[in-house]
């Protein structure tokens, strides 16, 4: 029999499930039953650990300093894992994570550089608790913030706390959360709404999905506190259609929260009532914009309302004051309430407090979900946590902010990452996508890719966006197919300026960013495509045959 008590967690995030994590969980369970070890080994499902690239993941005793991290677990490894707990058993070395540079095994969960350099606040419970079991969330101190808010604080005090924390909306634009809360609080009327924006439409971003899948209760708790603070009694979570697992786990979480009295008519006997409904989006990028999202919940086409217009905080859903925040913004709230605004504001930079969450993907060794204090340098994120570019390739650029953001070159790698520095570099925080590009990436092709996306997703009501993005796309298409003309770069700059300056909503206003930043930092690549009919990275198919391998090397240089 086993002397010690072990805890075994099996990641059940979308990434690990696609690698067969569900089968691994049931095989582990069967094996524990078969050997009658149920008393010694506690097994549970968790949400995403963030290190999806190494999945399926199994972690032994994650809460202890000696926690073991098993990566790329296959059904054939199950019996060895269980045997390792028996007397005389040894850890399964072949499943250890290996440092990509030295290929040394790193057995300990907490020693892996990917995790060690992070500071997980919003992701605090991700990978640690069972998202389908409210008791697990309660055991970590869950819903204590709600108790404190309801019984020890007035709405004004809560709003003051959120304001003082300096929390900015983590959906992209970075609007101070406290000011939004205050505006909704001050807006008249006794019917108000709280909406959680989980319409994560940016290609290359998945942190909202991961939080909802791994820790849905923290979002629900944040929303109930928000409801109490601004005076709303109903909340909606607008979830993307492409996230079925997130919807499933949210449904379970809402039911459990109702059963325990954290949602419903009279929450914890405080007299305050609040309930949450899930609204499944139907796939439209523009619905991330607040007025479009509101129209979508009303059952209409999600087309942003023209300016000037009252703010959603004053006239929102069905014309009522509505507080709309992103998933991660709500997930921060319980901690700000429990630990206080000072604790929160001690992280980050002067103007961006707290942490930033990125979906680190593309040409980087350790892809996954990461959380770092605002102000962390790009180099630390990409090289220390991300492990750099694999295959000995040279780093070329990092794209942040999805279709609304831009490409940042190697020369800016020492830039601290926060809302304002990214904007100054011509990019933006956006929803937190961070896609690393190496020497084999063609920057003109990347610009074309994003414009292809925005011109498809343009809702079509204003001309600069509908026609402008299409025009920009066709110019880029010409350049990548060898039809580029010398005047095209100036044409793109001019078009970009008018689209950015005259579009009605943020989709159009930011759509030119991928083009403008790639011209700003990688103009030579545009010139090679146009003047020499050559794609230096060897990506653009129409130009590939004209790219001798020697000139490709020279063309790359030391970018």
């Amino acid at each position: 029999m086993i002397k010690k008590q072990y805890s075994l967690t099996v990641c059940q995030g979308t990434g690990c499930i696609s690698g067969g994590a569900e089968d691994i969980f049931s095989s582990l369970e069967d094996e524990i039953d078969r050997l009658n070890l149920g008393e010694g080994i506690r097994i549970k499902r968790t949400g995403c650990h963030g290190f999806c690239q190494r999945g399926p993941l199994v972690v032994v005793d994650p809460e202890t300093s000696s926690g073991l991290f098993y990566s790329k677990v296959a059904p054939g490894d199950v019996s060895d894992i269980i045997q390792s707990f028996l007397p005389g058993g040894k850890p399964v070395e072949r499943l250890f994570y290996r440092d990509p540079a030295s290929s040394k095994p790193i057995p300990n969960y907490h020693d892996i550089p990917f995790y060690r350099k992070q500071e997980r606040i919003v992701l605090r419970n991700c990978g640690h608790i069972d998202p389908e079991d409210i008791d697990d969330y309660l055991a970590t101190g869950g819903y204590q913030a709600l108790r404190k808010a309801l019984f020890e604080m007035t709405p004004e005090q809560i709003i003051a706390e959120v304001k003082q924390s300096g929390l900015r909306g983590l959906g992209g634009a970075g609007f101070p959360a406290g000011r939004k809360w205050e505006a909704t609080f001050r807006a008249g009327g006794n019917e108000k709404y709280v909406i959680c924006n989980a319409d994560e439409g940016d290609p290359g971003a998945f942190q909202d999905r991961s939080v909802l899948e791994a820790d849905p209760h923290s979002v629900l708790e944040g929303m109930v506190i928000a409801g109490y603070a601004v005076g709303a009694r109903r909340g909606f979570i607008y979830v993307r259609a492409e996230y079925p697992l997130a919807v499933k786990r949210l449904r379970i979480a809402i039911t459990q929260a109702r059963d325990k009295g954290f949602l419903g008519r009279d929450i914890l006997g405080s007299g305050f009532g609040f309930d949450i409904e899930i609204f499944r989006g139907a796939g439209a990028f523009v619905c991330g914009e607040s007025t479009a999202l509101v129209l979508s919940i009303e059952g209409k086409r999600g087309m942003p309302k023209p300016l000037p217009r009252p703010r959603t905080a004053e006239v929102g859903l069905w014309g009522k004051p509505t507080l709309l925040n992103n998933v991660k913004t709500f997930a921060n709230i319980p901690l700000i309430i429990v630990r206080g605004s000072e604790w929160f504001a001690s992280r980050g930079t002067e103007t961006s407090k707290g942490t930033a969450i990125f979906s680190l993907t593309g040409k980087v060794a350790n892809c996954g979900l990461i959380e770092v204090p605002m102000g962390t340098r790009l180099r630390e994120i990409i090289f220390d946590i991300g492990g750099g570019v694999p295959g000995g390739k040279a780093f070329k650029a990092v794209q942040t902010g999805g279709p609304s953001g831009g490409c940042i070159p190697a020369s800016l790698l020492d830039m601290p990452v926060d809302f304002d520095s990214l904007t100054a570099a011509g990019s933006m925080m956006g929803s937190g996508g961070m896609v690393v590009m190496d020497e084999d990436t063609c920057m003109v092709d990347v610009a074309r890719y994003f414009l292809d996306f925005t011109q498809r997703e343009s809702c079509g009501q204003c001309i600069p966006c509908r026609v402008g993005t299409k025009q920009m796309f066709s110019v880029l298409d010409d350049i990548t197919t060898g039809q580029g003309r010398p005047e095209d770069i100036d044409l793109l700059l001019e078009l970009g300026e008018s689209v950015a300056g005259t579009s009605l909503c943020a989709l159009g206003q930011t759509a030119p960013n991928p083009v403008l930043t790639t011209i700003r930092y990688f103009r030579d690549e545009y010139e090679a495509h146009i003047h020499e009919k050559r794609c230096p990275a060897g990506v653009c198919q129409a130009l590939v045959s004209k790219t001798p391998s020697l000139s490709k090397r020279e063309g790359e240089g030391d970018k």
Binding site: S18, G201, P203, R280, A282, G299, K300, S359, T361
Partner: protein, 148 residues
């Protein structure tokens, strides 16, 4: 519709349920929904054509979705799409004549670390290559053969 109140805000979820049930949105169903909600059929049509999720033609029995997110694009997702077009002998956006497969592109399914990704039915297939595409389709092809 029995569980519904006939409110305007139910339109999108009604369309979603109809599509889940029937695989697409037939004209008759949209007209019925319009009557039920007391709105013009053209409004239903407007919403159905605005959102990417809705199909006006039936999907295949095994719908194939190719992710075209940024990470998948960098990982040459385009080649996967082309391989699927060849393998299924249909173009993106089409449904095969026998109704077994359909092929569409999606913006991002949020599994970027597994790029390039293909979804067949409900299953996510990670790190695809043109060769693995062929392999991934085999079980579905066997299924359709058995059915016929």
């Amino acid at each position: 519709m029995d569980r519904r109140k006939g409110e305007r805000k139910e339109l999108i979820s009604l369309l979603q349920e109809t599509q889940t049930e029937l695989g697409y949105l037939p004209k008759g169903a949209m007209q019925e929904i319009a009557c039920f909600l007391g709105i013009k059929a053209v409004e239903v049509w407007g919403v159905a054509t605005f959102y990417n999720q809705f199909r006006l033609v039936p999907l295949g029995k095994h719908p194939v979705k190719v992710c075209m997110g940024t990470a998948c694009h960098l990982a040459r997702g385009r080649l996967i799409l082309e391989a699927l077009e060849r393998e299924l002998d249909i173009k993106v956006g089409e449904t095969a004549e026998d109704g077994n497969f359909s092929l569409e592109r999606v913006a991002c399914i949020g599994c970027c670390m597994l790029a390039p990704v293909v979804v067949i039915g409900d299953r996510i297939h990670p790190k695809m290559t043109p060769f693995k595409v062929e392999e991934a389709l085999i079980p579905y092809k066997i299924l359709t053969k058995q059915a016929s």
